[in-house]
């Protein structure tokens, strides 16, 4: 049988177009011939699928038609909202999210600002450790008290203006008549100040110059018992050179301590050009100590060290002392030593002479 005719027959059978006689004959043939039956099943399935596609398509057309009618009526919102409509829609949809985001952003910026300002205010205290021994140990306090009692008990000796000091640092003479340079942070908020030489003689001093930005302070010894000292070192205006060997004397403990190092950079903390970076071993109490080169020139004043790094110490340039003197020349006439008498001496000899000019600065 021609396949063309067979398919035609299947279609007619499916659509119910056959006469009763034809139908019986067709059914008989399917029963006796499995191949024909196979073709019939397959073709019926195929026709059903084809029909389904047709119905589905016309139904989808109906759906689209209804939808667009309803869109025109305004029951369904228009397709693809654009421009302002879209923005309004997005705004409505995300306004809560936006509000939350804005709150978070505000919080973050406020806290960042707070942190930044706190940090920059306390730059010195965070990255820099001022080298003031502000917790004097109990033993030292005891010794102080005993000395005080002894002094009071001793007849014929004028009682000294003693008090329990709560910090200790270093200072050095810049004028033999009793002017001492130290750090501004050392005498910060101190009510009383005394300076003490290596023999333990104490003298009352008052600040005559304090500059917190350069961290330089100048004290004046007011005690009449203070005798003029001839200065062994000089204080140069010029900058020191990189790599210069330097040393310092200071009071990280109750007796004078020597330290040695070199000049490692011409600028200080965060590129501060008013100070040097030096490599030297220092401890709390060294603040305000002189930084002296081998020619006996005081090139700087130790001011602090970097907290997170070892051996990174900063020293105020000696030039700052000259600037300070300019500022106070109307009230105090200070003459800085310009000739170093210790130049060319052995280090031990140099130190012996300098010792007398380096003082412990104490106060409360």
């Amino acid at each position: 049988m021609d396949e063309n005719l067979l398919l035609d027959a299947i279609e007619r059978y499916k659509n119910g177009e056959m006469t009763a006689q034809e139908k019986t004959f067709f059914e008989e043939m399917r029963k006796n011939n499995p191949d024909v039956d196979q073709v019939a099943v397959e073709h019926t399935f195929f026709l059903n699928e084809l029909e389904r596609l047709g119905k589905r398509k016309s139904y989808q057309n109906t759906l689209s038609e209804v939808e667009s009618n309803l869109v025109n009526e305004g029951i369904i919102s228009k397709k693809q909202s654009k421009g302002t409509a879209k923005i309004a829609y997005l705004w409505n949809r995300y306004k809560k999210t936006v509000a939350v985001a804005a709150c978070i952003a505000a919080l973050v910026s406020i806290s960042t600002a707070t942190i930044l300002s706190t940090y920059s205010d306390k730059k010195q205290s965070i990255g820099l450790t001022p080298l003031v021994a502000d917790k004097l140990n109990k033993l030292e306090n005891k010794v102080d008290q005993i000395e005080y009692k002894l002094d009071n008990a001793a007849v014929g000796i004028t009682p000294k203006p003693k008090f329990a000091a709560n910090f200790r640092a270093t200072g050095f003479l810049i004028d033999g008549r009793g002017f001492i340079a130290t750090n501004a942070h050392v005498i910060n908020n101190a009510r009383n100040l005394i300076v003490e030489n290596k023999r333990g003689d104490q003298f009352i001093a008052i600040p005559v110059y304090v500059n917190k930005s350069t961290d330089l302070a100048i004290l004046k010894v007011t005690d009449t018992s203070f005798k003029k000292i001839i200065m062994p070192y000089s204080i140069p205006r010029a900058s020191a050179e990189l790599g210069e060997q330097i040393f310092t004397l200071g009071y990280p403990k109750e007796e004078v301590v020597y330290g040695e190092g070199y000049l490692s950079a011409k600028s200080g903390y965060f590129g501060d050009t008013t100070s040097y970076q030096i490599s030297i071993s220092v401890n709390p109490g060294n603040s305000g100590g002189p930084v002296i080169n081998r020619n006996g020139e005081v090139i700087g004043i130790i001011s602090g060290k970097e907290t997170n790094a070892d051996g990174v110490v900063f020293a105020i340039k000696s030039k700052s002392i000259y600037k300070a003197l300019e500022e106070i020349k109307t009230s105090e006439s200070i003459k800085l030593p310009t000739v170093a008498t210790i130049k060319g001496l052995e280090r031990v000899q140099q130190i012996k002479k300098i010792e007398d000019c380096v003082f412990m600065v104490k106060g409360n």
Partner: protein, 188 residues
Amino acid sequence: MNILEHEHVLLQGLAANDKKAVETIYRENYLTIQSFIVKNNGYPDDAKDIFQEAMIVLYEKASSGTFELTCQIKTYLYSVCRRLWLKRLQQMQRFNPSVESIDEVIPVEEELDVHEKRNADLIVMENAMNKIGEPCKSILEAYYLQKKSMPEIAQFFGYTNADNAKTQKYKCLVRLKKIFFAQYKNGE
């Protein structure tokens, strides 16, 4: 007319591709679905797609002849849309675990699986139709879908007589079947 009868009539209309029935169902249900989808991370355009798909599911059910609605059309559509939208969200990686469903929901997962399979079959047929090219496509559509008679087709497509048109239709049909079954069996 009570609700059940009303809905029964609607479904019969739907099965017969009656525009009025479709429109009624749209009017009664579309806005609920749209607000559900917009509340759950979607756009109104998403709602249109999802609702159309759900309408097709409902149509397939209604026209299968064996369908008995066990709940209101409203509930059925809502359940289908909810399921479809969850699936869409997962595909788009926008899954929102807190999809709200205060309304009554019936399980439709299995039905949607069947629906997907049937959709895939239809796509195979549609692709095959698009592959055979003209005039085959138009002739077959005219004969099988629009149910036009052979003489009409012969006249429309410019064949000298119905027999010539029939021979042509037969050739087209064989080609379509070949393409369809090749793809259909590959897909199995």
